[in-house]
Amino acid sequence: LTIKSVELINFKSFKLANISFSAGFNAITGPNGSGKSNIVEAINFALGIRGSRALRAENVPQLIFNKGKARKARVTIVFEESRGEVRISREINRRGRSRYLLNGIRKTRTQIVDFLLKHNVQPGGHNIILQGDITKIIKMKPVERRAVIDEIS
């Protein structure tokens, strides 16, 4: 499974962007405040992450592009799988409600998360490291760190 492309519609500082990724080593660069971390958060968002810390937003409506009259934000990830493409979308509105789609079909968050888990992907898993968090594994208490080994045993 690889991420083939990510589409952001009214998500944080992105009014519209469609980014295609290589199956290998991709590097996102640009000035401070240009939107690099926003792209990382868009991927986490579409994978179903919850919680204000990972998205740097006190509430979900703050994720909607705030310059203009947008009422919804949507992120779509196109995955490349052995059997073909898989599209996962998450949309939120001003009332904070989330809507998930898998290949165009409406799903619950639980169904999306279960699907991803089969591919060893989870929102907020240790394969996605947010800005400033790289040394978290060092600062963790030893018992928390051991839990990481439990999870993969």
């Binding site: 499974l1 690889t2 991420i3 944080k12 500082s13 992105f14 009014k15 962007a17 980014i19 295609s20 990724f21 290589s22 199956a23 290998g24 080593f25 991709n26 590097a27 996102i28 660069t29 640009g30 000035p31 405040g33 240009s34 939107g35 690099k36 971390s37 926003n38 792209i39 990382v40 991927i43 310059k67 591919h119 060893n120 992907v121 898993g125 240790h126 394969n127 996605i128 490291i129 947010l130 800005q131 400033g132 968090d133 790289i134 040394t135 978290k136 594994i137 060092i138 600062k139 208490k141 030893p142 018992v143 760190r145 051991r146 990481v148 080994i149 439990d150 993969i152 045993s153």
Partner: protein, 148 residues
């Protein structure tokens, strides 16, 4: 269950040593706080060349980053995730270590997808694709550059 845990621990510890050696020429290993007790804490210990083994809390900023990266890649070799996303993981690395890190990512990228955010040219030069982001009047735009 206990067997599975200690088998996993041993394998991840070996991978950790391998990656840490690639990054620093030093040695690293994982062990339990209390020998044989799978409910106790997990201790990481490293030996940077020409230095004594220290508690990882007293490592330098860059040394901590290399240790953390070696640990994550050790987990990945044992139980691969399909992709890895690192947001500015290279902040604390000096130019030499930054290049060692990006070369390692380039090698690992033949079997796993990596998406890194970075401000460092030592990282960008090893990428197969660069996604440039800019913002104008609060609106972000993206430019894509294929390297290889």
């Amino acid at each position: 269950k206990r067997e599975v845990f200690f088998k996993t621990l041993l394998e991840v510890s070996k991978e950790f040593n391998a990656v840490f050696k690639e990054l620093t020429n030093g040695r690293g290993w994982l062990r339990m706080e209390e020998k044989g007790n799978m409910d106790s804490g997990l201790i990481i210990e490293v030996e940077i060349p020409e230095k004594k083994v220290v508690n990882i809390d007293s490592l330098s900023g860059g040394e901590k980053t290399l240790t953390a990266l070696a640990f994550i890649l050790a987990l990945q070799r044992h139980k691969p995730s399909p992709f890895y996303i690192f947001d500015e993981a290279d902040e604390a690395l000096d130019p030499v270590n930054c290049r060692k890190f990006s070369k390692l990512i380039r090698r690992e990228a033949s079997k796993t997808q990596f998406i890194l955010t970075s401000l460092r040219k030592e990282t960008l030069v090893e990428a197969q694709k660069i996604i440039g982001v800019t913002v104008n009047e609060g609106l972000s735009k993206v430019v894509e550059v294929e390297i290889k």
